[in-house]
């Protein structure tokens, strides 16, 4: 994966709480065997009419959303299913970060595996950012992973938490599977210390 650099972007405002992964990418799009094209289906049921035309009032279809890399969402973004198709679809559309007050655990893990930054901010910051962006939709924010800071439209900076290991991997393009494979000796030692709990071929 490419190392993540600091970036500056306009923000797509979707101030809805508890946006679940079924909204981000409905289940009928999960019959794929690769990751291609999922950006087109992002927020499909909110974004498109029955005939496939775009709903003019949905924020992703506004001209100002084109090219934006940051999504602003309500509390508990990404709740529900474990489908990694959700971050694949967000990244496929062009998003590099989502700002919320908190993220569902599995979504957060999945996002970090795909270079999508879950930017978690305090409720007061979240509210002020929303008010500022609503007043000035063309305003930009800067997300800097190295310093873990979000620079707000008024120039103020707030920090956001990120797991040290995930940060290290994202900044340096380190591949987590490669890291685990590097633990082979420790895994073998663990396996040698105890027998397997089940043998699945026994039931098949």
């Amino acid at each position: 994966m490419e190392p993540i650099r600091s970036f500056t972007s306009r923000v797509v405002l979707l101030p809805i709480e508890n946006i679940d992964t079924d909204q981000i990418i409905p289940a009928r799009f999960l019959k794929v065997t690769d990751k291609a094209g999922l950006g087109e289906a992002l927020f499909s049921d909110w974004r498109y009419n029955e005939d496939g035309s775009q709903k003019a009032d949905f924020v992703l279809n506004h001209p100002g959303s084109k090219g934006a890399n940051v999504l602003f969402a309500g509390d508990n973004f990404g709740c529900g299913s474990s489908r990694e198709h959700a971050p694949w679809a967000l990244v496929g559309f062009g998003f590099q970060a989502v700002i919320s007050t908190f993220f569902a655990d599995i979504f957060r893990n999945n996002a970090l595996k795909n270079g999508l930054l879950p930017v978690m901010v305090e409720p007061a910051v979240h509210q002020k950012l929303f008010a500022d962006l609503r007043a000035n939709p063309a305003a930009e924010v800067t997300v800097d992973l190295a310093s873990q800071t979000l620079t707000l439209p008024d120039g103020g900076k707030v920090s956001f938490p990120i797991e040290p290991f995930a940060k290290h991997c994202l900044l340096n393009g380190v591949d987590q599977l490669g890291f685990l494979i590097g633990e082979e000796d420790a895994i073998q030692a663990y396996e040698a210390s105890r027998p397997a709990r089940v043998v699945t071929s026994q039931v098949a």
Partner: protein
């Protein structure tokens, strides 16, 4: 003398290949990896690209459930897959399992079924294990005192290749439920009440442990219903400490230890409870005595209420964002603030899903509908969780009871819980569903879901309107939750 530990901590500690450090997460060993067609193809592709093998195919097992039709078998005994994309995805799983040596229960196989039904059924879900699957309802297996949680496809690849995951230690929440359930009130109502209390994000960052006299008195299958929906409160995993019921449920199942190995296993399993004096990070309590049947009115599982309550009013909420969220949900559901749900229109009743499709669920539903009819204009589907459950139900005569009542009896699968297999609501339809998610469009684009127990589902099917399960049990000698 070691300090007292929670059940979670014991399982966590015993699976550390490498402990967590300030810079790196723990390397956690996984005992059992369950695989299905939807979240695995890209992970197998990753292995192929890197020239990797599945490290422990003997600790991995696959089934088909999400995109499989539940329509009746053809004359050749096969279940026809008419959706070309689904067929391609299922074919990919067959190839992946063959190439990598992973055991697979194919569509129509005598053991095929929903991934969270087959693990316990085959006896490969056991106390003290770590279990993962690319599916959020993996929390189901926690009913056995196993640390079980859903993962994404990247992590499916990690486990296939290394049998390990990189994990940070979650916090622990005790969810204590004391008291005795009233007739007509079930395990499903307990978990819907817990989620309504903590909210859909209230368990984020936590592993839940369900404790208390009401949990102890539940059967294993009822405990599975509870643990299944831990994720709907935001918790990746839910646990119930194993006890005699757990051991009896597992005894003699194909994957369970036998002979002397069984005795040794049970001895170890008896150690798997939270030590006296061990502390959780937080506590939530619920009183079973005062619990009424629960139903959801909104578009996430936290939007639940007692079935005889009125739909909440956004004006009563303090935060603007909460008001907007509730109003959006009511608009989608076509409901008014303050209205009752009892008596609301019902178009479809769905009994099934990894929450409520086991034999005891079907017994409860069949017992309640025996000798009665599904109301005109209502479609009722009963979808067993596995082929094993289906055969058992047929042997017990449950199929005849459902069909005589006018319900459809289907093949095993996720069916209308996920609506990616042909089983779905039409726009605007109302369903009373025993599944786990009422998100917008979850059961079909534009479809509207009321989550409830199998008893409430049956009561509503008979009335043709949202109905109170307690009406049924007053008239019928139904004991919710048979032993199983």
């Amino acid at each position: 003398m070691s300090s007292p530990r929670t059940l979670f901590q014991k399982i966590w500690d015993s699976h550390l290949v490498r402990p967590e450090t300030p810079e790196t997460p723990a390397v956690l060993y996984i005992d059992l990896h369950l695989v299905h067609e939807v979240t695995s193809p890209q992970a197998f592709s990753e292995l192929r690209q890197r020239g990797l093998k599945v490290r422990r195919p003997d600790q991995t097992i696959a089934t088909m459930d999400h995109s499989t039709p539940t329509t009746p078998r053809g004359a050749d005994g096969r279940i026809p897959v008419t959706d070309a994309q689904a067929a391609a995805q299922l074919g990919q799983l067959v190839r992946n399992c063959a190439d990598f040596g992973v055991p697979l229960f194919e569509l129509g196989d005598a053991k095929q079924g929903i991934v969270h039904v087959i693990g316990p059924e085959q006896g490969i879900t056991q106390p003290g294990m770590t279990i993962v699957c690319g599916d959020s309802h993996t929390s189901t297996h926690g009913a056995f005192g196993a640390l079980a949680f859903g993962i994404g496809t990247s992590e499916v690849g990690h486990v296939l290749a290394t049998q390990c995951l990189l994990q940070s230690r979650p916090k622990t929440m005790e969810v204590r439920v004391d008291g005795t359930l009233r007739p007509g009130v079930t395990a499903k109502d307990i978990i819907l009440a817990i989620i309504a209390k903590i909210g859909t994000g209230g368990g984020t960052g936590y592993v839940l442990e369900y404790t208390g006299s009401a949990i102890r008195s539940l059967s294993m299958e009822e405990r599975m219903t509870i643990c299944n929906m831990s994720i709907e409160g935001g918790a990746r995993a839910g646990l119930v400490a194993p006890d005699e019921k757990t051991f009896e449920y597992l005894r003699g199942r194909p994957g369970a230890p036998a002979g002397a190995a069984w005795d040794r296993a049970v001895e170890q399993w008896r150690e798997l409870s939270t030590d006296e004096g061990a502390s959780y990070d937080t506590l939530v309590t619920l009183d079973a005595d005062s619990l009424r049947p629960m139903i959801t009115y909104g578009t996430n599982p936290g939007m639940g209420m007692p079935i005889d309550a009125s739909v909440p009013d956004p004006a009563d909420l303090s935060e603007e964002s909460q008001k907007a969220g509730l109003q959006k949900a009511l608009d989608y559901m076509g409901l008014q603030a303050g209205q009752p749900l009892l008596g609301n229109r019902v178009d479809v009743v769905f009994v099934g899903s990894c929450t409520n499709s086991r034999i005891s669920d079907l017994r409860v539903a069949a017992n309640a509908i025996r000798g009665r009819k599904v109301a005109p204009g209502v479609r009722m589907m009963v979808v067993p969780g596995s082929q094993v459950v289906k055969r058992q139900a047929e042997a017990e005569g449950l199929r005849e009871i459902f069909e005589a009542a006018g319900a459809e009896w289907r093949e095993a699968g996720c069916s209308m819980c996920i609506a990616m297999n042909g089983d779905q609501l039409s726009p605007g339809q109302y369903a009373v569903s025993t599944s786990n998610r009422n998100f917008e469009g979850r059961q079909g684009k534009g479809g509207r879901t009321f989550l409830a127990s199998p008893l409430t589902a049956v009561a509503s099917a008979i009335r043709g309107r949202v109905a109170d399960a307690r009406e049924l049990v007053e008239k019928l000698p139904v004991t919710p939750g048979s032993p199983a």
